[in-house]
Structure formats: C-alpha cells, structure tokens
C-alpha cells in the first residue's frame, strides 16, 4: 500500500507561522522547519542517493539534527541516528553495518572522528576544516535555499524502511532495528491518543532524539502541531526546570534516571509548574518509591507510566494516570492498536500470579534487525514481538514486569530477580542508585553482586551498613556476596544502566570506585 511518508505526515498541513521547535537562542516555525528539511532533501538528491540508501545522523538535538532527520525521510531514504557521544570505533562500526555513504554530523563529532568518515559524503552543522578522503564536504549554512516545496514528498510503500535505530547495546552488541514509515505513523497516533495531545501542548525535550523515546516526542508533538522545547542541559537540572516554567511547558518526559535526579538532586519538589499538564516516564522501570514521590510532588498533574522497546518503534503500553496508585508498579495495558499479552512457554495467556513473557502485536512492531536473520527469527515470530521481558498479570489483566528474561540470577537453585533486589536496596536512604548482577560462584551456582552509589560523601562503613540493611530485608538466598561502592553507574546515552560493563567489573575494573578519590 502506498501512502504518506513520515515527513509528510509531520509537516504538511501545518500553520507555517506556528512555532514547531524552541531552542535556547531561537524558535523555528513549521514553515521554517519544512524549508530547512527541504534544503537537506535537495542536498541528499544531489549526492545521487537512491531510495533505500542509508544516511547516518550523529549529533545532539538541534535544528540541524531535525532538518537532517526529516529531510532524509522526505526523500524516502533511511535515517540512521546514533548518539553524539559515540566513539570513533562505534561510528565506524555502524557505518560499516548500515552501509551508509552519506553522513550528517555535528561539526565537533566530524572533527574528532574524521578518521572514520573517509569515503562518505559529509555535511556538518557548521563549517570545519577539510577532512581528508571524504567524497564531498559541505556545511548546513552553505546549502542553497529551499528547492523542495513542502508538498513534494516521496510517496512510499508503507512497508518501506524509514529508520535504523541501533539498540542501546546494554545487553550486548548493537543491532539495527528496522522501523518503517507505517511503524512510526502508527505509534505516533497511538501515543497521541492515550496522552490526548493537541496543538496546545509544549514538550520539554531533554531526551536525545536519536533514542526512540526522544524521537517519539518529536513525532507526536509535530504531528499535532504542538511545540518541542529543546534543552540539552539536563546535567544542570535547575536550568531545565526554570526553562520549563519560563516557556510554559505542558509536558515533560524522562527515563528513571531523569526522575531520580529531579526528585533527589534538584529543587523539583519545591517548584511550581502551573502550565504543566502531564509527565511521561518510560525507558525502564522507575521503582515504586520514586513513583510515589513523583505523585506527591505533582498531585494534580497526569503521570503516565509507559513501557516500550525500540523493536516496537517506541511505546507499547501505558498506565492511565487515574490508576497510578491502585496499580502501582504496573506498566498498564497495551496502547490503542497494540495487543499486549503475557504468555507461557506454550504461548497460552498466563493466569494471575504466573510469570510469562510479554508478547506484542500491532502496526508499530518493527520488521526485524538489519542483516541479522537469526536474531530476527528469535525475536519477531509470526508477526509478534517477543520482548524478552518477564511479567505477571493481575485479576484485571494489568501487567507487572518482573524482570528482563536475562536479568535473573540463579542462587542456591532459586531464581532471583535482580530488579526486585534493586527495588529493596533503593528503599535504603543511603543509596542513590544501584544495580545488581550475577557472578559465578562455586557453591551457589551464581551469587549476587551489588553496585551501589551512596547519597552523600560519608562512605566510611557504607558497605557494612548496606550488608546489614540487606540482612534485615532480604531472605538468605538473596543476600549479596559482594558490594561495590561506585561514584556513579555506567550508563549509555539513553540513561540506561550498562549491566554488561558491570558484569565485566572483575576482569576490567575500569569503573572508579568512590574510594579512588576520597
């Protein structure tokens, strides 16, 4: 079936004078945004790109980023967004895996990773010295004025790829998730419907757009004619909170890490947000203690707990805000258009209290992994996405995630969920964040190793106090064998804890412990 491409879906029919994006120093109207995307589209066609070619996109959230993203989609090419802090090795590897010959790069990245860019057509956000061995090099400002009228979008088969989103690699090698134009449009419509978004909504975007959750903020708000306020300064949360107030944001979206920092390390609880209508939390599990604090902080705002995966474009479920307290800890049910089930090994729906795997069906389920046939067959079966997340349902079929299928440890013959231990640990007032992994153990089979970040600088005796706390709260088989105190947990650019690094801690102790500097 032929249809609109994503750029058409997001940009056409909008009031050209209305603000689409707001940056620190400038605002960009829908008319301007369409024109800037059109300049990129014209550039890509001049590079002799053909439909289906991949275009790598690397940079922080900016007008250049959004223009390149939409311009690529506009011409029917496939965008491959990656984090601005990707290493040169990672950038090389994704260039090789995706086969991209055109690179849209933030100047700072292009300069530091010049060695990886040979043999590509390069466009940067600002002018930089010539990079050797590139096929061509241009900067955004030097592009000619728009040549592509806004109505001129490539018509695409709905099944055609729009993007390769490389998964965070928190559990292993990065894999390119193949997202179609139809996937993005379907997921965008679902999210808009359950959040009741309208053109009056103004979203504070601190999440990077290369991450599917961040991209979904862009998709949904542009689709309804709303506004996205871009702020890349979350490392200074006070500046973001003040900007939310000043720009009258109606929405905020974050991962657990964002909310933990706001609740524990900012003036969030003491500030008022009169324009705020809703907050969204996705991108991982926010421990119930933080959900309760969030509700206490924002008693009259809608709080949406959501669940998703890159393999499902972005989001799969939501918990209606009015159910937040009654169903605390639940990820809710499937979003409009998504069927979400929890099934046993025979594929039957589990009964309340039983554990099974979450399986999703819907028009947002991706086509598979780029050039990874076996992985695709394991995860995408008969049109369903096998998420690898283990869950239970209650009597009302609300879903509660127990853990990742691979995030269990078998201690003394009993299966122990790392996440449940982490939740108990987070209730200890001395801990800011924590992660639990399994380590081989001659006697137990596997034993638990706890990584904990202390709340304050008084770390003398911290390990002993945590061990003692565990003894009061956990059964014998769940007691940690080792406790390591870190200054922070290793995270990827989407804010997810990299357990793969923690598991290698003994063999590659690259993580500075708190004692290294005290």
């Amino acid at each position: 079936m032929m249809g609109k491409n994503v750029a058409h879906h997001l940009l056409s029919g909008k009031d050209p004078d209305r603000t689409a994006l707001s940056f620190l120093q400038s605002t960009v109207s829908y008319g301007d945004l369409a024109a800037q995307a059109g300049r990129i589209a014209a550039y890509l066609l001049r590079c002799h790109a053909r439909p289906g070619d991949r275009v790598l996109l690397v940079g922080d959230n900016s007008l250049f980023w959004v223009a390149c993203y939409l311009g690529t989609l506009q011409t029917g090419l496939i965008t491959v967004p990656i984090p601005a802090n990707s290493s040169e090795r990672n950038l090389s590897s994704i260039l090789r895996m995706s086969g991209a010959k055109i690179v849209c790069a933030q100047a700072s990245v292009a300069t530091t990773h010049a060695g990886a860019l040979s043999g590509t057509h390069l466009i940067t956000d600002r002018i930089i010295p010539p990079i050797p061995q590139v096929l061509s090099q241009l900067d955004f400002a030097s592009l000619p004025s728009p040549q592509f009228p806004v109505s001129d979008y490539a018509t695409v088969n709905h099944d055609k790829l729009a993007a390769l989103f490389f998964t965070s690699g928190s559990t292993g090698q990065p894999r390119g998730v193949m997202i179609t134009h139809a996937n993005i449009i379907a997921n965008t419509e679902s999210i808009i419907s359950c959040l009741s978004l309208s053109e009056d909504d103004r979203m504070m975007a601190v999440l990077p757009f290369h991450y599917c959750y961040g991209a979904s903020l862009l998709h949904t708000h542009l689709s309804v004619g709303g506004e996205v306020v871009v702020d890349n300064r979350f490392m200074y949360p006070e500046t973001v909170l003040q900007r939310m107030i000043d720009t009258q944001c109606t929405g905020f979206a974050g991962t657990p890490s964002h909310f933990q920092i706001l609740l524990r390390k900012s003036s969030f609880k003491r500030k008022q947000f009169p324009s705020l209508r809703h907050v969204q939390q996705a991108g991982g599990h926010l421990a119930p203690i933080f959900v309760r604090e969030l509700k206490e902080t924002l008693p009259d705002k809608k709080i949406y707990i959501m669940y998703g995966q890159t393999e499902a474009t972005a989001r799969l479920s939501y918990l209606p805000p009015e159910m937040l307290e009654a169903k605390l800890g639940s990820i809710g049910k499937g979003m409009p258009g998504v069927t979400l089930r929890v099934v046993d090994k025979q594929g039957r729906d589990v009964r309340p209290g039983e554990i099974g795997e979450i399986v999703a069906e819907g028009p947002n389920v991706a086509k598979g992994y780029w050039q990874e046939r076996k992985e695709t067959m394991d995860v995408f079966r008969n049109g369903s996405l096998y998420t690898g997340d283990l869950a239970q349902v209650d009597e009302d079929r609300f879903i509660y995630i127990v853990d990742r299928a691979k995030d269990f440890v078998k201690c003394r013959g009993e299966k122990v969920s790392c996440r449940q231990i982490e939740e108990v640990l987070l209730e200890c007032s001395e801990i800011v964040e924590t992660a639990v992994v399994g380590i081989p153990d001659d006697v137990l089979g596997e034993a638990l190793k706890v990584f904990a970040v202390p709340r304050n600088k008084h770390v003398d005796g911290f390990e002993e106090r945590i061990a003692s706390y565990c003894r009061t709260r956990l059964p014998l088989h769940q007691l940690p064998k080792q406790i390591v105190v870190l200054r922070s947990l290793p995270k990827n650019s989407a804010g997810k804890v990299m357990k793969s690094i923690l598991k290698r801690h003994d063999t590659a102790p690259l993580l500075p412990t708190i004692h290294d500097h005290i």
Binding site: M235, Y236, E238, T239, K265, S266, R487, S488, K491
Partner: protein, 97 residues
Amino acid sequence: MLQTIRRFVIDNYLFGEEGQLGDEDSFMETGIIDSTGILELVRFLETTYGIKVTDEELIPDNLDSVSKIVSFILAKQSDSQQTPHDCSSRLPEETRP
C-alpha cells in the same frame, strides 16, 4: 586548586587525555560530562574543599568549566569564613523518606 580540579576532570571524563581540555571550555558544549557525571564532580568538590553545593547552585554559571568552578569554590569559601554559620545551615531539610 585549578590543577586538582583539572586533573579530576581529565582523569574521569577524558580518559587522561590532557590536551583536550581548556580551563574555559564548557563541559556542556564539549559534551564531556553528563547528568550523573556532574553529580560525581560535585561530590568530589564537596569532599575535597569542605563546601556544600545546594541544588540551586547546580547551574552552568558556577560549574560549567574548570575556571568557573575555581571562582565558585573561592566565593563559597570566602562566604563561609565571613559567616560562621556557613551556607550549609541554609540547606533545605533532606526530603528523602
């Protein structure tokens, strides 16, 4: 002080590559420190210089380069010498349950 702070940033965020950091370089613009990294940095400053950084002080004007940090710490230390009940006494109550 400048060298100590510089060393901390280089060792922890730049993998020891000294040449990449100017004293005026913005951490935010260069992208070398993220949101949890800045909390590590603050904890280091509190421990090393005996100051307390409030939530409201966690802003780019105070912390976004090696030079800004030095000025900020000197001002904090000077404040606390002038007022025996230093700024830590003005901290909000801990809100953690």
